[in-house]
Point group: C2
């Protein structure tokens, strides 16, 4: 289940650059360029721009480039059903993130254990502002959350779910949702796939970790396969389908994290080798929340 989640839109004109660590064989550094005319149809909340779909589907073009780290330009915005979350409306610079973090802490006005009012101060030995109970002294820490899911492969196709809930109602996503206390990332990814696609899967390998600091989320997606060739929409999906790689609906995906994950997957499959990827999705400073090209993928590494 993934209700309170970001919409990091998908896009026109983005570029992926890879770095290959030592001790790895195969391809080296390269980039993926998406044709700039590609754009996405996003059914989004309130203030978000609706972008006409021009290309039904696209597949990244690949060219080798000798630059380490940096640069995935993708459109972005998100809904904010969770009132405690930071806003996506400003830049991702350090000062901005620090302000957001402080604002996040100031939202915590009461102690969840004793009900005492909190003060907002930097505890001794720490460097960040925390919400400290004025009665019992306990600190309420706020930390990023993990979103776990599966990229399910079957007969050279991938399983996508059409969202029947906001945000991103009507758009396609990999089955994914928040990791719960008491479960592993693998178990959470399997559970989410069962809930959203009524599919029983076996996880094959980790595929991607994508941090989104501005909204305090980290996506962890595993490759998986169907144990049985059965699936159907769960309560939060209106449709579930297997898409051949060339027909993945990149123009109507729900989140940038999904665009990135599926682009990397298509790229790796065409190159004949699947890798594990890490990256940070940042909003470009000074851009509008409705600017669908306002995100970059930084620190992109693969193993």
């Amino acid at each position: 289940m993934l209700k309170a989640i970001q919409i990091l839109g998908s896009s026109s004109g983005f570029v992926i650059q890879y770095w290959k660590p030592r001790n790895c064989t195969g391809q080296g550094l390269f980039s993926i360029s998406i044709p700039s005319k590609s754009s996405l149809s996003l059914s989004l909340y309130s203030s978000l721009r609706i972008v006409p779909a021009q290309d039904i589907s696209f597949v990244p073009k690949i060219s080798v480039r000798r630059t380490r780290f940096r640069a995935f330009h993708a459109s972005s915005t998100r809904s904010e059903p969770n009132p405690e979350g930071p806003s996506a409306s400003s830049s991702s610079s350090s000062s901005s993130l620090a302000l957001k973090s402080a604002a996040h802490v100031r939202n915590i006005k009461f102690c969840q254990w004793c009900g005492g009012s909190t003060k907002h101060d930097v505890p001794e030995g720490e460097e960040r502002m925390r919400a400290i109970c004025t009665i019992c002294g306990k600190i309420t820490y706020q930390n990023p959350k993990m979103v776990v899911g599966c990229l399910v492969e079957h007969d050279n196709k991938v399983l996508l779910c059409k969202r029947k809930i906001q945000p991103s109602y009507g758009l396609w996503t990999l089955p994914a949702g928040y990791l719960e206390i008491g479960e592993s990332a693998v178990d959470g990814a399997i559970r989410e796939t069962r809930e959203e696609a009524n599919a029983d899967v076996e996880v094959l390998s980790p595929f991607v970790q994508l941090d989104i600091p501005i909204i305090g989320q980290t996506y962890i997606i595993f490759l998986a396969k169907l144990k049985k060739p059965h699936f159907s929409p769960g309560p939060e999906s209106s449709d579930c389908r297997l898409f051949p790689l060339d027909d993945i609906p990149f123009n109507s995906l729900s989140f940038s994290s999904m665009v990135i994950t599926l682009s990397l997957y298509v790229e790796n499959m065409k190159a004949g080798r699947l890798r594990f990827h890490y990256g940070t999705i940042n909003k470009r400073p000074g851009t509008s929340p409705s600017d669908i090209q306002a995100y970059t993928l930084d620190n992109h590494m693969q193993s």
Copy 2:
């Protein structure tokens, strides 16, 4: 900074089994066996057993084994300075984890936003008990936390810090701590390395993700290198040293996650190829919290 953290002790007689996903070259499935006479000296909290150090250091012996997934047997226990966290004193079975999760939720007695008392119920459309405010209706979700850190390499040695704080006072660890809101895993790992070892590092690649469901933590460790050959103990460390691979103090490491990470690193380095690893550290059902061999590494996969 990593104050409220698990102690998953290190150990005698553990086994690692690997699985190699398709499309990967190099070694296939294999296991690491640690001599059963190896044991660890752990200076632990309260109820934990102190185990005499018999072997100053050890390096895993490797043998090929054709089994998919499963099995890392390592000792384990942990301190619990965070009162909201689950106890490590019972098994990691599903029912036990469900009970722990429910207990975790019941600890939340007040709404942190309006101060209203909470009820503990399963919201409509969900399957898990949540703490729901009886005044404003908001739900306080509790999710696992990420611990991020660096395995810093320099001149074929690795950088370890001796802990000057509890838990695991006096034991060696990789620099690591909780990921903060507003930062990426890479930035958090760099920050922790600067705080604990006064070391300025460049991250090279992701190396391991280890989930520990029973305490709601996920370790994410990156390989890194020193930008300058300077380091010194930070406020939470009494010493920082570079250890050659054959001299890593496996018998006095702080946490099982560190034993696993460093064992995998030594193994990969000896095999001439670094990989990305995923695994789940579980407590074996029915074992005592003081049993230092009571954890298994499940779902071990590498890319």
